[in-house]
């Protein structure tokens, strides 16, 4: 799942590709999505995949799904993810994702694993995240470590 608005904010790959390839694909997809207007459908054929995207405020959420996957449900996957972010951050905005990208990844991992939905219940997913937060002592300390 790749989410973006001109600039890429968060990306997640469920197939293994070399970096160069990834960059090329991202450029291509961003161009396609940004060129489309609001009246158009949320689905675009792209190579042998389908892009399903939705815009939330300034962010485009986009995922590439296989031909036989269910398009509408992919749209709702995006929505459910946004709901989860919203529940966790409380009125999520782009800055939340930029500054707390690791949380966004954790939430995504709780929700989707290896490209398949893991937990569709909002309660369970959020609970999993909150549990892990309980275990967490201080984030900042490690954020400032030189390894990063």
């Amino acid at each position: 799942m790749n989410c973006r608005q001109g600039k890429l904010r968060l990306q997640k790959w469920y197939t293994t590709l070399p970096d160069k390839e990834k960059k090329k694909i991202i450029r291509e997809i961003v161009q396609i999505i940004l060129a489309r207007n609001q009246k158009m459908s949320s689905f675009v054929d792209w190579k042998d995949l389908k892009l399903v995207y939705k815009r939330y405020a300034s962010l485009y959420f986009c995922c590439a799904i296989e031909d036989r996957d269910n398009e509408l449900l992919a749209l709702e996957v995006v929505h459910r993810y946004v709901e989860l972010l919203d529940r966790y951050f409380g009125n999520v905005c782009e800055l939340d994702i930029i500054f707390n990208f690791e949380k966004a990844y954790f939430i995504l991992d709780e929700f989707i694993l290896g490209g398949e939905i893991q937990e569709t219940s909002k309660k369970s997913a959020v609970k999993a995240i909150e549990d892990s937060d309980m275990l967490q002592e201080t984030m900042e300390e490690y954020m400032n470590k030189p390894a990063f």
Binding site: S41, L73, R80, L113, G114, S121, Q136
Partner: protein, 889 residues
């Protein structure tokens, strides 16, 4: 390195950051993986659900082969262990799925598989969701091992769709109960054929409930509610289409999609068009889909989104058949004028294919293609105009019309270069057909073409030069003019070598050669051999094998159905009664009139009427598909002029079907003569004894039976016969031996022609000899596993041919089994998950190649229908075997 150290930490935060680092930044081929694997192993063994979760997430995120090697054995144990926490089970299921996708060979099947299937019954819906994903993927590869999942999935689905929206608590999404799980279950069911009756009833109920819910007023105005609801609906429709067995559901699905076509949500219109495309290929719903044609055409005109319009074009293409081809092609041409550049080429190909396939009258075809070149010349690829020329050359009844039309089209002040190419070629071949008209006299034709010469590219000019030399032959009166042109400096000293060489050679040829030699060298082009339309091949390549070919195969199948059936189809019938309009237009006498030939099976006597006045029928024009064309030309080339030819040949077609599954019997009988057969086949060799019995008391004189093979057949079948005694006494029987060798796979059967004198009149009759491809079958026994493995290997869409047809005989299991064995293949028991289905396997032996064949026959007692699927390594063989066997049930 720091990250790996973090992994080994016992503090959650450190571990978490370490895993995040690895998931996001470590490439799956990194050397660090080995170190990381060790840390993961510790965490998996830790029994701490949070740590296990992190470790599993990491494996799933990286998903490398090394990880699969290290953990593929471990994870199934975690998955089915009784004391594993639900959340860990979920992660383990999806993690395993990821590993299976990257390295299927490393994930061992075993005891755990049956226990995974039972996860479908799990209390926790999250676990069921994750397990369904895993099972679906595994079941696609190993249908046998997971077939018990079908009934579990159906009962789970049934519980979900009937539940009240509050029952499932947090798994209800905007008033829709567990949409993700429903969709996954429906997807899992699409891995299997329709289940056996008991389960099927319950499934049908579920599907009906889903369709009913679509009609209920929405429980929420939120778009999420309708999206989730419709997502389930579309998946249910996919399943209905996949099963393709419940006409009632198919039609309901079609009506529902029809409503969506006019919905104000663009997304729904898009999906409805897409889904209808597959629905159009089912024979139960094809008609229902056609009723929406106006809406779809409207969508083409008014939709603002290219991708939606593209779907509309696809759907029009899919719903096209003989009845609406003219309208659809006209609309596509209309749309082409304003279409987006990105899809023009595809539309051009589609129009060209439809125009050819459904052309009832080839003048329409020629008009359509010329229009195509006029409107979108730049997008008309070479294949398209090659094809027009092939068709015009093969069908002599349109040649005059084509010449006239291109001549008129060329008069436009600006015409596309492709038109000049077609024009040049056609006039060069058939310009003489319109030269009688003073408005298109030879000189005018030449000047017209030559006026375009300077505007064209080199290859076109080269083609025009060839046209000129052809003119020299066709119209000696303008030879001088043409020689002058060839002699001019711009030709003889052209900078382009190819043009220069042509000019020089053609000039010499026209001066030196006598008229006879010219006529021989520049003779009309011989008909092209029939083969798959190159345009179709191009479209397939362009669209990828999946979508188009499916439709094509099904269409082909439907049209062969039509041609194979005994009653004349309406289209054929109407064609017989309407004389071809092109006959008048031609009025030149040179062209034998064969336009109104019906398909051979529809009516024998008419066929003979048409053919009997021209002995040299080069290209009889059976309307429609190529198959149709091929079979009628075979009949025509060895056609008979006899007392009762119509009956004889017609019956023969039926008679031959009696011999598909057996080798001995009476082939033909009338008041005078009885023909009996006894034959045996081994590998690619066979021997047939033909017994001719004289039923009268009078001698037959000059009795000469001959076996005739068409040219095509001669190269693939080697037949040797011994002559028989020319006198057959009254009541006597003579025997003739035919030795058969199959060189390569073949289509038609050879024809046995018998001539003799009886009481002063010459008798002449022809019957087809039942030497068919399946005679060279050797049965192959194999296990279920082998069968499915081979089945999978033959999964390219060209290798599979499928036919759905009504049972013509009572559906008796034992008889069906006997027929499949008689057909030559082995009958494999306990291979198909459904015991009612029949599965066979065998090898066709020919001298040059051996072709492995798999077949599957699914009876549907309720509907009295069969579905027959053939997979062989050769497309033509699949097609032929399917035709032959379909006639047997």
């Amino acid at each position: 390195m720091e990250a790996v150290n973090l992994l080994s930490s016992n503090r959650y935060t450190e571990k978490q950051i370490g895993y995040l680092f690895i998931s996001v930044l470590v490439n799956s081929n990194s050397e660090l993986i080995r170190l990381i694997n060790n840390a993961i192993k510790n965490d998996l063994a830790s029994r701490n659900p949070t740590f296990m979760g992190l470790a599993l997430h990491c494996i799933a995120n990286v998903g490398s082969r090394e990880m699969a090697e290290a953990f593929a054995g471990e994870i199934p144990k975690i998955l089915v262990a009784g004391d594993t926490m639900d959340s860990v089970k979920q992660s383990a299921a999806l993690c395993l799925l990821r590993l299976y996708r990257t390295s299927p060979d490393l994930v061992p099947m075993g005891d755990w598989t049956s226990r995974v299937v039972h996860l479908l019954n799990d209390q926790h819906l999250g676990v069921v969701t994750a397990a369904t994903s895993l099972i679906t993927t595994l079941a696609q590869k190993n249908p046998e091992e997971f077939k018990t999942s079908v009934s579990l999935a159906v009962s789970r689905l049934s519980r979900i769709v009937t539940s009240a929206s509050t029952d499932l608590q947090d798994y209800t999404y905007y008033f829709v109960p567990a949409p993700w799980l429903s969709v996954k279950l429906l997807r899992l069911l699409q891995c299997y054929p329709p289940p056996d009756p008991a389960v099927r009833g319950r499934l049908t109920e579920c599907l009906e409930t889903i369709l009913n819910k679509a009609q209920e007023p929405p429980k929420s105005k939120k778009v999420q509610h309708s999206n989730a609801k419709n997502a389930v609906l579309f998946e249910a429709i996919s399943l209905i289409i996949h099963h393709d067995s419940e006409p009632n559901l198919l039609v309901r699905a079609c009506n529902q999609l029809g409503q969506f076509l006019q919905h104000r949500e663009t997304n729904l219109r898009y999906l409805a068009l897409e889904s209808m495309c597959t629905l159009a290929s089912s024979e139960f719903s094809h008609e229902a889909v056609k009723t929406h044609i106006e809406t779809v055409i409207n969508a083409l005109k008014t939709e603002r989104d290219v991708s939606v319009r593209q779907r509309a074009v696809d759907l029009l293409y899919a719903m096209c058949d003989r009845s609406n081809a003219q309208q659809i092609v006209a609309e596509m041409l209309n749309y082409l004028e304003t279409a987006d550049y990105s899809i023009r080429e595809e539309i051009v190909l589609k129009v060209a294919i439809l125009a050819e396939k459904y052309a009832v009258d080839y003048t329409w075809y020629v008009d359509t293609i010329l229009n195509l070149i006029r409107i979108a010349g730049d997008y008309v690829s070479e294949e398209v105009w090659y094809r027009v020329i092939q068709i015009v050359i093969n069908r002599d009844d349109v040649q005059g019309y084509a010449a006239k039309t291109v001549f008129e089209a060329l008069q436009a002040p600006a015409c596309h270069e492709n038109l000049v190419k077609v024009g040049g070629y056609i006039l060069g071949e058939f310009g003489n057909l319109i030269a009688g008209d003073p408005r298109s006299s030879p000189l005018i034709q030449f000047n017209l073409l030559h006026s375009k010469f300077h505007l064209c590219s080199v290859p076109t000019r080269a083609l025009l030069l060839s046209t000129y030399i052809k003119f020299v032959n066709l119209f000696p009166e303008i030879k001088i003019t043409i020689q002058d042109v060839l002699r001019s400096d711009s030709q003889l000293k052209n900078a382009d070598v190819e043009l220069q060489q042509r000019a020089v050679e053609y000039l010499r040829l026209s001066t030196i050669a006598s008229t006879d030699i010219l006529a021989t060298v520049l003779e009309e082009m011989p008909p092209f051999p029939e083969r798959e339309s190159s345009i179709l091949a191009k479209l397939k390549k362009k669209k990828g094998p999946s979508t188009v070919t499916d439709l094509e195969e099904i269409k082909k199948e439907r049209s062969s159905d039509m041609n194979g059936s005994a009653e004349p189809t309406p289209v054929n019938a109407s064609n017989v009664s309407t004389p071809s309009p092109s006959a008048d237009l031609l009025g030149l006498g040179a062209v034998p009139l064969t336009n109104s030939a019906p398909a051979p099976s529809s009516s024998g006597s008419l066929l003979v009427d048409v053919f009997s006045d021209s002995s040299s029928v080069a290209a009889p024009l059976a309307p429609g598909s190529e198959d149709n064309f091929a079979s009628s030309s075979d009949l025509a080339s060895s056609e008979v002029v006899s007392e009762e030819p119509a009956d004889a040949v017609h019956d023969a077609d039926e008679l031959i079907h009696k011999f598909i599954c057996k080798n001995n019997g009476v082939l033909f009988e009338n008041q005078l003569l009885q023909i009996g057969l006894k034959s045996e086949f081994r590998q690619n060799l066979g021997r047939m004894f033909i017994f001719y019995g004289n039923k009268t008391s009078t001698q037959f004189l000059n009795f000469t039976p001959t076996v005739i093979c068409s040219d095509e057949l001669q190269s693939s079948l080697n037949l040797q016969t011994k002559p028989v005694d020319p006198i057959v006494d009254g009541g006597a029987q003579v025997q003739q031996v035919v030795n058969i060798e199959c060189i390569s796979d073949f289509m038609d059967a050879p024809i046995l022609n018998i001539q003799f004198r009886y009481g002063g009149t010459l008798q002449n009759l022809s019957v087809k000899l039942p030497i068919t491809l399946n005679k060279f079958f050797q049965p192959t026994e194999m296990s279920s596993q082998d069968f499915f493995q081979r089945w999978k290997q033959l999964s390219s869409p060209k290798q599979e041919v499928q036919n759905i047809f009504k049972a013509k005989h009572p559906m008796d299991t034992e008889i069906t089994k006997a027929k499949i064995i008689g057909f030559g293949s082995a009958l494999l028991e306990e291979v198909d998950p459904n015991p009612a289905n029949f599965v066979g396997a065998g090898i066709i032996h020919t001298k040059t190649i051996q072709i492995g064949c798999l077949l599957r026959l699914e009876p549907n007692l309720q509907a009295q229908m069969y579905r027959l699927t053939l997979r062989t390594s050769k497309e033509a063989v699949s097609q032929r075997l399917c035709e032959l066997l379909s006639e047997q049930f």
